[in-house]
């Protein structure tokens, strides 16, 4: 591909992103100081290379998936956020009082707001969380609360009723054993060690150890079960995009966005770069692009993804995520 073809492709992609209609050769004459016939020749070449497509034999060109891909990899220029968007982000960042999950949720809202696309988060407790302590707080003769804390500051509580024939002190005793044995264990390993290391010991010291064991197993439940925190924000934002003008298309997309099973197909990133998945690459829907980046915040880590049409404003979205990324890194793990 020669230079003129590159800049032609760039122009076509950017023009299509703005106008959302197939681009004809005449539109580009001025910019390239040549006749429409010349442009047509070049366009035909780009089409043969697979970067452009036509809807029908006599229509203008639209970028193909490969075209978008070439664009984001080689042609796209970094973009600055405008003042207004910047301000919104900064307002978020300056609020120190948010909990982790609130901060992420707020992020999604702002991203969705300034991009007009849908944003989602796929979160999970970080593997770096290790058990710090477990506390048993009695409420009355029959009820107690188990409090589980990790070193990264995640705290969960769970309430239990215990059978009257089990002495509350037995429960407390076991909590002490667990505290001695398991503190420092990564959360993801707790279930296993509870079963193989702790259970044999308490089975000797406590009579109805099965019931009591169950309590502790349940107490860790929130951490053990693959606690995927999925949020989808701004589903209706996508309806502002002109590609969603047909009821069937709208229904298809909204149903997908509502279906957690489907959303989970957007898998987590494995690094903290910004990655772009166009159309069929997205693993979610052939008509959308998914842009992802990872975060790690207060003991929780995951991926933030933006879902937009394939003719997404790539520059802008990447700019937003860059700023977000920088902020998250400062705020630190």
């Amino acid at each position: 591909m020669d230079d003129r073809q590159k800049s032609l492709l760039k122009e076509i992609v950017e023009c299509y992103i703005k106008e959302v209609k197939p681009i004809g050769s005449k539109h580009l004459c001025d910019k390239f100081h040549c006749s429409s016939a010349t442009i047509r020749n070049e366009m035909a070449a780009l089409e043969k290379m697979g970067y452009l497509e036509k809807n029908h034999i006599s229509s203008g060109r639209i970028p193909s998936e490969a075209g978008y891909r070439y664009y984001v990899e080689h042609l796209m220029e970094p973009k600055e956020l405008n003042g207004e968007d910047m301000l919104k982000l900064q307002t978020l960042f300056s609020n120190k009082n948010l909990t982790v999950s609130d901060a992420i949720e707020k992020c999604l809202e702002i991203i969705s707001d300034i991009t007009n696309y849908t944003s989602i988060s796929l979160g999970e407790y970080s593997d770096e969380n290790v058990l710090r302590q477990i506390n048993i707080i009695p409420l009355d003769e029959e009820k107690l609360v188990a409090l589980v804390c990790t070193d990264k500051g995640i705290v969960k509580n769970k309430q239990f009723s215990i059978p009257t024939d089990i002495n509350m002190m037995e429960v407390v005793k076991i909590s002490e054993i667990i505290n001695k044995m398991l503190v420092g264990t990564p959360i993801s390993m707790v279930a296993e060690r509870l079963e193989y290391d702790v259970k044999p010991i308490i089975s000797k010291q406590v009579e109805q150890y099965e019931a009591v064991y169950g309590i502790f197993y349940d107490a860790f439940h929130d951490f053990i079960s693959n606690n995927e925190n999925i949020h989808v924000v701004g589903k209706s934002k996508m309806l502002n995009q002109p590609e969603y003008s047909e009821p069937a298309e709208i229904k298809r997309l909204i149903s997908k966005l509502e279906d957690e099973e489907q959303v989970r197909k957007i898998e987590k990133n494995d690094n903290r770069d910004i990655s772009i998945y166009i159309g069929s690459e997205s693993n979610f829907d052939d008509n959308v692009t998914v842009v992802k980046t990872n975060y790690s915040l207060g003991g929780e880590e995951g991926t933030i993804a933006i879902i937009g049409p394939k003719r997404m404003e790539y520059g802008r979205v990447v700019a937003v995520l860059n700023i977000l990324n920088k902020w998250l890194e400062e705020k630190g793990d």
Copy 2:
């Protein structure tokens, strides 16, 4: 309105609910053993009374809001759920291990599933929750967890960092004061009593009482801030309804369902009956009907609402909510 008119209205409403197209006079001849002209006369009468409407001068009739209202109040017959739907509900009810919020969420899913409408819950901690105890659990020199429990079994925890110049024991001392003074106070009153009864006392006993006071205030935050638990399930279900065949309509509805501000306009019921709000009565959208009933479950109370088109299958929806209601009552407050 004479008997024939009543049964005519009933027939028209039910037929329209099924067919979703304006009902013409010919369709009803057979059923009423008379000519279309007779039906037309009666229809004209019903229209004059305000129970029927026409889209244009020569179209069939559709029920007006008043028509639907008359129908649900006087004409509708109770309906039995079919076996399949019943089974789904029973499967839910038999699962004892669900937490309150999970149970409600699951309810919404099932309702939405069997009705093909959208369902929402507006929940709140019951006023009957009174403070049972507050515990302070130290994590290390700087961090602690405050655990707040109510008699109805709601437990919340919140983590804090405390300034190094404040002694952890001071915090524990204050928690003891609060436990002595406020146990038994309705959750909704805690903020007030904290301010007017507790603050004056601790201000004498603790030096930096403002900071410590803040910790306790925050600990109660989840209860104090009007903690409205709003869930909307099955937004896309509404798109299966034939009235949503135009992009603009779809967009309008989906945006509304996504907007918590809007959803909150569907206010809570004030009793446990099933109430029906048709069109403009719904306070949400002129094109929908909202059916509501209250629940009270495990210290949380609120309203479950079903949002469907005005030509909702009223009998079926009421049947579902009736069963749900009975179950919730058994399960008790």
